[in-house]
Amino acid sequence: MTWQGWAEIALTLSLAVAIGWPLGVFLSRVWNGEKTFLAPVMRPVETLFYKACGVDPTKSQSWHAYAVALLAFNLVGFVLVYAVLRLQGVLPLNPQGFSGLSGHLAFNTAFSFVTNTNWQSYAGEATMSTLSQMLVLTVQNFVSAATGATVAAALARAFVANRGEGVGNFWADLIRTTLYLLLPLAFVVAVVLVALGLPQTLAAGVTAHTLEGAEQKISLYAVASQEAIKMLGINGGGIFNANSAHPFENPTPLTNLITAVSINTLGWAAFFAFGRMVLAKKDVRALIIAAFVLLFAGAAGVYATETQAPPAQVAAKVDTSVNMEGKEVRFGAPATAAWVAMTTGASNGSVNGMHSSLMPLGGGIAMFLMQLGEILPGGIGSGVAIMVVMALLSVFVAGLMVGRTPEYLGKKVEAREIQFSILAVVIIPLSMLGFSGIAAVLPEALKGLMHSGPHGLSEILYAYVSGTANNGSAFAGLTANAPWWNVTLGIAMALGRFLPIVAVLAIAGSLVAKPKLAPTAGTLPTDGGLFIGLLIGVILILGGLQFFPAMALGPIVEHFQALGAVAALR
């Protein structure tokens, strides 16, 4: 480990927070329906959307109507993606000449992109036509991100209201977040990325004649336009199989910095926006500090594991200072470690190094950060929403200790909020561990594994953790393009996405009707160090403890095997 490495990690992680602040200020204005500097361009488009859809953006919906609208929109998205992928072979803009996807792969991919997961059971450059990449996958990269953002907007309004009714208008939140934040930002970032080397062409590729006289087919796509929203929307599904390790997605340390910061910055922006809307900047600052501490610890942990002596390099008697298997030379250990934490702490799932080839505890940290529920800082809005759920559980635990009805941000937290909070967080381990348990004994599932033993279990566990948490990264030794994996992972992604969303909206619906209370002497302060400590404790216990037995059999035992192997070789 070097000071340069630590400096790079610290810069990358904190730059995302720093840029997230002004973006969050802007986002709160967008959610509040205020006029922004983009109005001259976007206001007519926005009005067109409302007119064509027949919705009144000023009409606030009950949580129930809001949830129904959200689910209806996502259902339509699912059907559209599924249909286009199945029919890819007969649709235009298919210079690659790819045929349609199988039913189970299209099912998996449709849920994957609608749920903002972007798990990919396929290799992009061998499966997806230019049309599919643009028309359905890029579109879902935008709107699935905006869908997550609407949840935070609705929850914020619930905390603001004093005996209110509605939580806002889903269509207005969806359309405004997309038009004012995601689209302009993605356009700017996409053009910058092209300037820095990312291809952006409708051609399928070229054939090069190499210096040694061989032929090399080079796949090309409209890469930059999808790459920008893939990172900003916290989606993570790459054009190419190697994702952000591919030199066409991420050619230089500078593109790596820009795209890594893009993974987290809008997640943080949603935290800031939430704080501004609720007029609770200090309380949200506490949430941000708790999340950042955990995220930095994750990055530091991966940097530490990846600079341990790797067994294979010890056996080969080569330099052992960095585990270079599955890493790119231009990134090395620090940039890869920062990325591992940022992509798994947010629900992104892109990779700039192969997670399966990380040292055992490095891969374990990646899994652990996802198991915490994608709140570091998570997806745009979906992250802060689940973080608020964690805060509700924290004040509830504190309230139990002192025997008072807990409050958070001026709202009493009672049985209904806690029931739905538990529902939001319990589905995650249930799906992750439940599916993993079944897959671990099912021959049909085990056929897809590349490794046996602890690393094989990690492949299974990682897949369901990643799917349920809507992350999308993988221990990619797993061959997931088979009916069992595609179908069960599709279900896991849908469960992990929509049940927590509905639960959070139900909490919003319950909170919105309550009176807004002024803090009293008996109110637990939720902006100080004590609360940050309590919150981190709740997050670690909820995320860590219930997964410990499974993790012990996967990455933890593999870690001790690796230590043993290195000791025996030396």
Binding site: Q4, V194, P253, L257, V318, F331, A335, S356
Partner: protein, 200 residues
Amino acid sequence: MLSQLRPALVSMGLFTALLGLAYPLAVTGVAQAAFPAQANGSLIRDAGGRIIGSALIGQAFAKPEYFHGRPSAAGNGYDAAASSGSNMGPLNDKLIDREKTDAAALRAENPGVVIPADAVTTSASGLDPDISPANARFQAPRVAKARGAPAAEVEALIEAQVQQPLLGFIGQPRINVLALNRALDARFPIIPVRKAASAG
């Protein structure tokens, strides 16, 4: 649910037109107009205009007179239509055997020098265009010998190709293998053993 179906269908249609067509096509238009070289894959052409490769994409080198890139798990090696890492876990037997075999060959070539890790490990993409400066220096004696070139001059070529981290700490020092080999060809040309001229 039904009352929400119209906005769901209509907005998805509008989003598809705006985000799925207008947005990528607009970016493509700007990119092709302002940055055509990058937008088309940073392609490198020889004097005759034939595409040699991409400045960003590694290509396979096996001859002793060229610097070699890293081992590659993309297709049969540096297949730029099938990017992939090995995805092998740290205790995978095949990984350990592969690194041992590769290291043994390198050790025979340049005994007594520590073998850089990137010389025996596969990259994440299988298309890594770079090697570490240490890896290039390790290969310098072999290349100099195969070309009949003075070792000092080959090493000078290497040092001229080192790309340092941005601001000293962002990214890693690295050398683009294709660029280094092109510089090598320019400085110490090898008489190409051409196949039949009609091959193209």
